[in-house]
Symmetry: C2
């Protein structure tokens, strides 16, 4: 079949010229278009609806990034938008919280069997950084163990950035090799009596890597070590939360942490983060100072309640899993029939695909760029996200673009 006309980005590019003058790097951070495929992606978006997004030039995309996670029900989900509209007619950010503060905390504690309490914030980094303080306050110890190269946000203790961070700010962080229990045991033994806790994402999903699932028994082994050594086991579920299991990614992988950090998908795009903890940690959480200008705002909390209820009522988790599998199977078939070697990694709802022998992601940048110019928004070196709004026809339509992407890779790089 004939290719549809490839997208162009005049208005995006003109805005980006202005952005480069007004903002450092124009657009910085994880959403930087410089991390995509220059020339093949827009830099500014205008509208979203379900699993579709439109850029400022009017180009339409099937969205497989979901705002890098937050959009879990699809853009502008009617039930979420309705409670938001209603709430904005009453109040949002006030001197004190609204009733939703209590209702949402109760709902999160209810769906998370081991959790005794819930605290709210705004960024994923707010809660991951706070979780270390709670573990330290609880244990009276300073050191925290994380997996080497794991992404837990922009806290000085964990940021992947080097500029402007001082050695002291990372002095209490220890690292071990992900999926290696012996290495974790070594680090714990070498620092016995000094370690407050271990923080882990439920699977490895940092950018510029294939995702890596936990080995069988790994997370359960971490749990056992934490129990034996009196360490707080912190689950950073900021990126994976509300996509794998409504009761937390620990349930998906068969373990229970002591603290869970949520953000991104919790309110279908409205800004909210949450930290959940075991009852034993409540006193520690009560003495850690934790606050922000907009943290008791009501709108994101009613949005979160609605998001969780819709996910539960409409089987969103199973839908994302099924559509992720369908997409993965389609990609697999296409690559196979063209003789291209690919690696698919991560759970189906948070998938990633890369090319074998493509360490610098050059093939993937071409592939994703060709997809973008044909209306499918993927990312060459960051995991993708399904939403509950993706339907079979969206996946099948996306696979038309990916076939063109694969052919471009074959044509430029060979088989």
């Amino acid at each position: 079949m004939a290719d549809k006309a490839l997208y162009t980005f005049e208005r995006s590019d003109a805005l980006m010229d202005r952005a480069r003058r007004a903002v450092p790097s124009g657009i910085y951070g994880h959403q930087s278009p410089a991390l995509l495929t220059p020339g093949s992606y827009p830099s500014f978006l205008a509208r979203g609806e379900g699993c579709r997004i439109w850029d400022v030039d009017g180009n339409e995309y099937i969205d497989f990034m979901c705002s890098y996670g937050p959009i879990v029900l699809g853009h502008r989900h009617p039930r979420v938008e309705e409670v938001v509209r209603k709430q904005l007619g009453q109040a949002d950010c006030q001197n004190l919280p609204g009733e939703a503060w209590v209702e949402l905390a109760e709902l999160l504690a209810e769906i998370t069997p081991w959790a005794g309490w819930v605290a709210f914030a705004k960024n994923g980094s707010d809660v991951t950084t706070w979780s270390l303080a709670v573990a330290r306050a609880y244990t009276g110890r300073d050191k925290v163990i994380m997996a080497a190269d794991a992404y837990h946000g922009i806290g000085a203790w964990c940021t992947p950035g080097k500029a402007g961070i001082t050695p002291s700010e990372k002095a209490d962080i220890l690292t071990f090799v992900y999926n290696d229990l012996n290495d974790l045991r070594r680090v714990v033994a070498e620092n016995r009596g000094a370690v407050a806790g271990v923080i882990l994402t439920p699977f490895r999903h940092e950018a510029f890597h294939n995702s890596e699932m936990p080995n069988p028994g790994f997370l359960q082994g971490v749990r056992k070590i934490c129990d034996e050594e009196g360490l707080v086991f912190i689950l950073d579920d900021v990126r994976a939360g509300f996509r794998l299991n409504l009761n937390g990614s620990g349930e998906y992988f068969g373990f229970q942490p002591d603290i869970t950090c949520y953000c991104k998908a919790i309110a279908n795009g409205y800004p909210l983060a949450a930290g959940l903890g075991r009852e034993e940690l409540r006193a520690a959480a009560e003495v850690v100072f934790f606050t922000g200008s907009f943290w008791t705002a009501v709108t994101p909390m009613v949005a979160a309640k609605a998001t969780i209820e819709v996910l539960r009522d409409e089987g969103g988790i199973a839908q994302m899993d099924a559509m992720g599998r369908r997409f993965r199977e389609g990609l697999d078939q296409q690559a196979r029939s063209l003789g291209l070697a690919i690696t698919q990694s991560g759970p189906p709802a948070i998938p990633f695909m890369s090319f074998v022998n493509d360490a610098a992601f050059e093939r993937n940048r071409l592939f994703c760029g060709e997809c973008a110019r044909r209306g499918v928004f993927l990312h060459p070196h960051h995991n993708w996200f399904l939403s509950a709004a993706h339907r079979e026809r969206d996946i099948d339509e996306a696979l038309v673009a990916t076939e063109a992407g694969f052919k471009a890779v074959k044509s430029q790089f060979g088989g």
Copy 2:
């Protein structure tokens, strides 16, 4: 005149009982009702409109806290709400920013003569902490000087909380006595070659203190020291920004910083923070890793544009100053006529009042509690905020309640 029936808080109290089970401390941080006057304040709010707020029991208040700063035009200002409603009909949190990213950055740079660029985030703490990293990246030095006991947010380097914070996290922070240029010179001299910058609020406004204005020449002296020593001068305008001068609190006090941190009032309650910097600091800002899940969301940016435009078009800054002066004069007259010694501090738009010889704020807790039960929302040991929605009749109505508050203090504590 007869006192109106004093407020009661049955529904608030019932919600607070539930909150205490679901959330550490029920409500934590700066909005904790435990910091107000127990028994005399609500714990949950339901609605806001202009300078009025209603709690979940239906009690109405004239709001002198303005959500601890964010509400600068009054709650649910029609022009802000209209652009928000329109934006939410298109998109909010997406894979890339919207056009408002550029427009707002340009507007902020335009109204801030010395600023070359603008970066966005979500919390005040995001930008104050980031500003240190930019100063460090620019100078290649690690130490930063702040005023002892100043509040710059919940970053480990500056949080007033002790629990869960390790000594290393504060190791690069030096302090001096606010308003004491000789003490600043001493700290700089003792650390020559190691200091990246100085961070200051435009006046001292930390809780549990009277506000303290800069001595004549103090901020200009800091500027001079920074110029002589090659230090980055960071203005933490999170709390005072958009209330004293639309072009920044530096203009109000007659100096120009190198970086300004904004948050709170920038978008009339919608969640946004911004860091503005001089052109020379752009390259440093470009290498500091800075990102968050909701930072490119469009709604707070259109709200910020509208907020700044309304403040400019309707003379909001002058209105807050005038109403703050009217309130201050009324309080002064009442206290004087009752023979009560009070201290009024801070600029009129961000005022504070305390009683002389009331170090533990016992008199102020009684005073503010009596005002709250009569429909005026003040705070016993945190500065207050005016909004552009406060009118003469609101101030005069508030002064009826404050008179009752003063009489209660006189009756309980004497003259």
